[in-house]
Point group: C2
Chain length 361, copies 2
Amino acid sequence: MKRVYNFSAGPSMMPEPVLQRAAAEMLDYQGSGQSVMEMSHRSKIYEGIIHSAESLLREVMNIPENYKVLFLQGGASSQFAMVPMNLMTKNNKADFVLTGQWATKAYKEAARYGTANVVASSKDKTFSYIPDLNPETFSKDADYFHICMNNTIYGTKYHTLPETGNVPLVADISSCVLSEPIDVSKFALLYAGAQKNMAPAGLTVVIIREDMIGHAMEITPTMFNYKTHADNDSMFNTPPCYSIYMCMLVLDWLKNTIGGLEEMKKINEKKAGILYNFLDNSKLFRGTVVPKDRSLMNIPFVTGNEELDAKFVKEAGERDFVNIKGHRSVGGMRASIYNAMPVEGVEKLVDFMAEFEKKNG
Amino acid sequence: MKRVYNFSAGPSMMPEPVLQRAAAEMLDYQGSGQSVMEMSHRSKIYEGIIHSAESLLREVMNIPENYKVLFLQGGASSQFAMVPMNLMTKNNKADFVLTGQWATKAYKEAARYGTANVVASSKDKTFSYIPDLNPETFSKDADYFHICMNNTIYGTKYHTLPETGNVPLVADISSCVLSEPIDVSKFALLYAGAQKNMAPAGLTVVIIREDMIGHAMEITPTMFNYKTHADNDSMFNTPPCYSIYMCMLVLDWLKNTIGGLEEMKKINEKKAGILYNFLDNSKLFRGTVVPKDRSLMNIPFVTGNEELDAKFVKEAGERDFVNIKGHRSVGGMRASIYNAMPVEGVEKLVDFMAEFEKKNG
Ligand SMILES: Cc1ncc(COP(=O)(O)O)c(C=O)c1O
Ligand SMILES: Cc1ncc(COP(=O)(O)O)c(C=O)c1O
Ligand SMILES: [Mg+2]
Ligand SMILES: [Mg+2]
Ligand SMILES: [Mg+2]
Ligand SMILES: [Mg+2]
């Protein structure tokens, strides 16, 4: 069996022991005589799985009691509409910081449902930094303030949160969820497509403070109303059962093999450190992001020469470093090094980069 | 390894060879060094999977060229809003037949977005039949006419389609999709939650005639607009990649092991025949549905004595016939015998029922 180092921005690598367990349990989950894929979502055995996924997530992320955890479908892209439909309902207004493509999509979708203010943007420099934010420029009467915490395409991350005072803070954490501890109590709502650090694609996790629930616009589809799912423990209709099971396995690995988010953070800092350190010392390669705003998860870099970039991507692929091509809007390369990427994968990548630099530098 | 006979209404049994292949490919799909769960949805290798799933579905269901196949998320429940938001846009009116809980939910959600007419209902007799339909009672100016083709909870099925003339016919085929051939050209839109006959939960398949696309209401979330997904070959955002892969494996099994939908129908008729025949001859058990409207997939039955029903369900469970309890709104038992239920499973169930009847009849 061959395994590659997969630097995809998502879907992305899963921890190997998790895949092994899933394979072993595929035809018979713990003596039930059923695959998890075959279980009635209303059965006792499946209820055990979804409850365990939720309680592991609550424990690992230290989620306060007054927050609901919702296991939904539709991707983070559905949240771009669900958030305004549910939250933009007092003054029909919200604030946005444009730090990349996903932040911009969230803003544009919200603008279809109310007044969406852009308080800052880093578009002027291809989103290579997080703008400085001045709370005086924030709307005092906004129903919420939206950020994209980690910008998957551009490789930036908020290292400090905006001071929004009484205005509820909402964050897309799709590409940084579970990568390090986060103070959930600072947010009114967090959402994440699961396909980077949590589970296979097809699951969207929403962590929502209870007072944010129950104020949806009249036009909100029943399935887009957080209350529908909160009132039914994510079982209003058939949930994405298998992805939730995989999420449980990942959380179990994170808690029991890794040792929790503090430990995960150390490993992620080590991995990112190896690559950033190489980039900072390389004469051929350089990172594209302002150092203070660098992401732990997504690391874009370039040689400055498009042909050389293409050559690097091609040769990397031949060495089984896959999906390392940068997003078309940035060019160059991007190494997404989510939780499941082993330290060894980054070390080997850096070795290969050094070798490539020697030959082509 | 133990395997039970699982009569769940969905999620439900998967073909065993499909599960075996999924387990075998879990860590390395065809020498790629990746699990399908780990693949970038934009990668060549994953594109091969989603294209193959679509072309197999087109072939097996004989879907005409002028229909799009969409692989979505959100369950059939999301279609209850998506259909009116996209289709109820000329005269803001649609017709509904109430044949069960799902048909009624589709109607109630549509009524939030326009004029929803009930043309007939079988609620008077616990939805145990499909009402006779008189085309003269249909709205001539309806934007569509909605039916639930197979009623999962009550065990009824349309054996003839309503004559809607120029009014587009829309059907929820969640619990009968792929069970027998269907003339797609009679419908403007078909939708199905995949978790019965297609794939694990988390995938919703929509088959839509092209002229139905592009007329959504202004308020429609981008992710609820069929055009979004049709224009992007179901890749506007991250699709439920693994469920689509499982769907491909199921379709491959259906085409190459079973031999297509005509063959599948014969097997399903055989299975249902064994059970209906037993019920019709039993002095203890009886089916709850009017014979002419019986479903091939979901077969509810009762003894007429609640205590005896409960005893049967309990003893069946001990013999590894699981999830055979009826829906609370009907009571008694329900055997859902989807494509993956082997003939042997039904034969053994009937043997057990005969044994139970001898002891308790
Ligand atoms: C930060 C962020 N938000 C949103 C999305 C969109 O997620 P989905 O494809 O699940 O809709 C992505 C996808 O990569 C992302 O990285
Ligand atoms: C006929 C029918 N329609 C709709 C649904 C709801 O599907 P979902 O749970 O995918 O939303 C079901 C679920 O069993 C069903 O049987
Ligand atoms: Mg981005
Ligand atoms: Mg450098
Ligand atoms: Mg029903
Ligand atoms: Mg009888």
